[in-house]
């Protein structure tokens, strides 16, 4: 089994709203997959379909080779879920909640297993600096999130479904979280990480899927994606550069005080630099495309252009 999650042409409607409109998503076993999209683009709906909480209208969804709707219980023995907005039972303490959720997953398991889980649990409580004796109604958002994270990460689940899991954590705790995810992948687990924090995605994720309005707009490794985007170049030359704007793949040329700035498509980079170097380069600064840029471009109005370019790239 090479894909832990395989979604094709998934459609989900709520009344007249098409929350998912032909979404594709493939998460390979053992990878950390970034799941990006603006608010309301359908990330959470997708995850709730994967959890069997919602029923898909059409399309195919496969989780660990099973059907998330009909095989829910069996599948859930192998997955852990951390929601972005954690609501807990107000009169249970954090420690009680973690134990409850873990035991539900393990089905009461053997004593040996429980001992292992307890060690992991206590270690995570320590690392994430949670006071497990407090009643959940007194926890802040960040602390509620820690409870859900500890319950999810201390499990032995094969797949972790994380829906904006760090939205309430401070930067220190966020880095602890990142360590924990890397440890999980080192153990061979698969992670689907929906997130808005691009630095986090860049640091953790092997591959990324970007969705918009319920549709997948781009999917691939970060390198592949960077390849599909433009590099920003700022260059100063001995002689004024001419003919730059005429090169196919060069955009937004602007001259400023002897310095020329432009963006160039990855495919045109080589030819462009050769052209520029003929004018005698004095200094050159090149900025690789960031995920942020990718993200913004797909949320901006360039969607059609971008997907058109993607199609070209895919067919070439």
């Amino acid at each position: 089994m090479s894909s832990a999650i395989q979604i094709e042409q998934l459609v989900k409607t709520f009344g007249s709203t098409r929350a998912l409109d032909g979404l594709d998503l493939e998460v390979r076993t053992g990878e950390v997959h970034g799941f990006l999209g603006p608010n309301g683009s359908g990330k959470t709906v997708t995850i709730r379909i994967l959890l069997g909480l919602l029923r898909a209208d059409s399309g195919t969804v496969s989780l660990l080779g099973g059907d998330p709707w009909s095989d829910a219980v069996e599948l859930h023995r192998h997955i852990a879920y951390v929601p972005g907005d954690v609501n807990l039972w107000p009169n249970l303490s954090g420690g009680e909640t973690i134990d409850l959720l873990t035991r539900l997953r393990e089905g009461g398991g053997s004593v040996g297993r429980q001992a292992v889980d307890l060690a992991k649990r206590d270690e995570l409580i320590e690392r994430l600096a949670l006071d497990p004796t407090k009643k959940s109604r007194t926890y802040s958002k960040g602390n509620r999130q820690k409870v859900a994270l500890i319950a999810g990460l201390s499990s032995s689940a094969d797949v972790l479904l994380l829906d904006e899991p760090t939205s309430g954590l401070d930067p220190l705790m966020e880095s602890v979280f990142q360590e924990c995810v890397l440890e999980a992948t080192a153990e061979g687990r698969t992670v689907l990480l929906s997130s808005h924090i691009l630095a986090e995605v860049e640091k953790l994720c092997d591959r990324v899927t970007i969705i918009r309005q319920g549709r997948t707009v781009q999917s691939g490794t970060l390198d592949e994606m960077r390849h599909l985007t433009r590099t920003s170049i700022s260059v100063a030359t001995d002689r004024p550069i001419t003919g730059l704007a005429a090169i196919d793949g060069v955009h937004d040329v602007a001259a400023d005080d002897g310095e020329v700035r432009f963006d160039v498509d990855a495919g045109a980079l080589d030819g462009t630099i050769r052209h520029v170097s003929s004018f005698g380069i004095r200094s050159l600064v090149s900025q690789p495309p960031t995920l942020e840029e990718l993200f913004l471009r797909h949320y901006g109005d360039e969607l059609d252009v971008a997907s058109g370019r993607l199609d070209e790239a895919a067919s070439s």
Partner: protein, 553 residues
């Protein structure tokens, strides 16, 4: 960790020129806008309460006016009621029945239950717009705006006053339309507003003190229960204790029986005192917590908290214990006064004939079976709210981490359902045992205990049926889950007002309680019990199947 705020100590040292120097008390700023929010959010609930409480008065009054057309009719009614402790407990002292008028009969039949309904509505409304809002963290958004600390409480109280006034006015108008005297109609409307507002004040205080909104509600409910018992003892006895009960005050205005208007001062003064107290208490508590501090919990879960059922037990046990204690006390009290029912036969030959015609062996038995019906109808409140936990768990998203584990919906729903069904049995048992103990104590008949436990348990299938119906509504039409309460309300109306309103039999038969043999007054019959249980099982199966097929919120 205490819930005490030290607001006085941290008042900013504003200079004379500071533009933040408060020119006047700003702690009520925004009340008007919040009042609009209260009425806007509750518009459906308000409409339902209005419809229910005014509508009930309209149908009750119309049927009484139609039923008692001559003085002999009225005198006949008064003879059955006068001095009958068992009826007095459920109706009140019966002012004006010495020389009965239509108004006095209408009051005796309806007033007490209207007062209780207004009290319940007011407690719910005030807690919903104060502590529940804080717990849902919506109030933070509001308080972050230029809105005063007391604005939420003030708007909740004013909103409750608006609704109570509308209900009181609606009732007064309804009574006037049936040609009842103006003074009495106004007096009843006013006392309805008064009793509603006293309990709104009570809720305003419990909302400051209790550690959470559920506790605040429970405390408010407890006060209503105590008020009911105090006035019941007072009404049966020398009347003194009735003056300790806001429900007693509401009756003491003597609508249609030489009104005592000064009595209205009692609810007015009490409400003002309670609101002032609540305001002062709010200054001494932190946002989101009550004066009673939240205790720490265990760092690790007990072994019991390992399954969905374990969680359901943990979530519902507090409420079950509360219901059992409250209903047990009330049932015991009913048992204690049961022997009084026997007096009527001695005092009142008409009643003896009446019961002889009904084929009832003993008036005590008739009283006990009616009391048991009322108690189990109350207990159905637990049954339905317990099933509706499913809805609140789903809506809050707390069910997500459970269903993301290896638990299917049936298992999860069954866990709460199991508590609802088993808790129902437990409550029916407690009602029977407590009433039996009270009766046995007064009559010296020890076998009453077993008999009344049977009378309580025989109600269980009817209560289960409502649990099943609630589950089916929740499974099929989750947005309409609250409609399950309409079933309980209907069962109440059918039981309490069915004969009075002269409703068609098929309509009454919609209440499952109509089919339960009225032990100990009637002989046991198994067929309806088995049928009710079978229908309950079918409803539960259908509800679980519906839940399996739909999207979770």
């Amino acid at each position: 960790m205490t819930g005490l705020a030290v607001d006085a100590a941290v008042t900013p040292a504003a200079g004379e020129n500071s533009r933040f120097a408060p020119s006047s008390d700003s702690s009520f700023t925004g009340t008007r806008r919040l009042l609009w929010l209260v009425l806007r959010r509750d518009r459906f609930r308000i409409a339902m309460w209005m419809l229910g409480l005014v509508g009930l008065m309209v149908v009750s009054a119309s049927s009484i006016v139609a039923l008692y057309t001559t003085n002999e009719d009225l005198e006949g009614y008064a003879r059955t009621v006068r001095g009958n402790s068992a009826l007095i407990i459920q109706a009140g002292p019966g002012y004006g029945l010495d020389d009965p008028t239509l108004g006095a009969v209408v009051m005796n039949e309806t007033a007490l239950w209207m007062f209780i309904a207004a009290a319940v509505m007011s407690v719910f409304m005030v807690v919903r717009h104060t502590r529940t809002e804080e717990e849902a963290e919506r109030a933070e958004l509001v308080r972050a705006a230029p809105v005063g600390r007391h604005a939420a409480l003030a708007s909740a109280m004013i909103g409750t006053l608006v609704v109570n006034t509308a209900i009181g006015a609606g009732n007064a108008v309804a009574l006037l339309t049936f040609g009842l005297p103006t003074a009495g109609s106004l007096a009843f409307g006013a006392s309805l507003v008064g009793v509603g507002m006293v309990f709104a004040g009570v809720a305003a205080v419990t909302a400051q003190v209790a550690s959470g909104s559920r506790t605040a509600l429970a405390a408010g409910g407890l006060v209503i229960g105590v008020a009911f018992v105090l006035r019941a003892i007072g009404d049966v006895g020398n009347g003194l204790l009735s003056w300790a009960s806001p429900l007693g005050w509401a009756q003491s205005i003597r609508a249609y029986a030489d009104e005592r208007w000064w009595v209205l001062a009692l609810p007015v003064v009490t409400t003002v005192v309670l609101v002032v107290a609540a305001r002062a208490l709010q200054d001494h508590r932190d946002y989101g917590s009550g004066l009673v501090a939240q205790r720490s919990g265990r760092p690790e879960a007990t072994a019991q908290l390992s399954t969905a059922l374990g969680l359901a037990v943990r979530l519902q046990r507090g409420s079950l214990v509360g219901w059992a204690a409250g209903l047990g006390a009330l049932a015991f009290f009913y048992g204690l006064v049961a022997d009084q029912a026997e007096q009527i036969l001695e005092d009142n030959p008409d009643m003896a004939d009446f019961f002889a015609q009904l084929g009832v062996a003993s008036v005590t038995d008739a009283f006990l079976s009616t009391a048991m019906l009322i108690m189990t109808l109350f207990a159905t409140g637990f049954t339905v709210s317990s099933v509706l936990r499913l809805r609140s768990e789903e809506l809050s998203g707390r069910v997500d981490p459970l269903l993301a584990g290896p638990i299917d919906r049936r298992q999860w729903a069954s866990s709460h359902l199991a508590i609802a069904l088993a808790g129902t049995v437990a409550l029916a048992f407690v009602c029977g045992a407590a009433m039996g103990a009270g009766t046995a104590l007064m009559l010296g008949e020890a076998d009453r205990v077993g008999e009344l436990i049977g009378a309580g348990l025989v109600m269980v299938p009817a209560m289960w049926l409502l649990a099943g119906a609630t589950l089916l509504v929740y499974g099929l039409l989750p947005r309409w889950s609250l409609a399950a309460w309409a079933l309980v309300a209907w069962a109440f109306v059918a039981a309490m007002f069915g004969s009075l309103l002269d409703l068609p039999q098929w309509l009454l038969n919609l209440s499952p309680f109509q089919h339960v043999p009225a032990l100990p007054a009637a002989p046991m019959s198994w067929l309806p019990i088995v049928l009710l249980a079978a229908i309950a099982a079918a409803l539960i199966a259908a509800g679980l199947a519906a839940l399996d097929r739909r999207d979770m919120a």
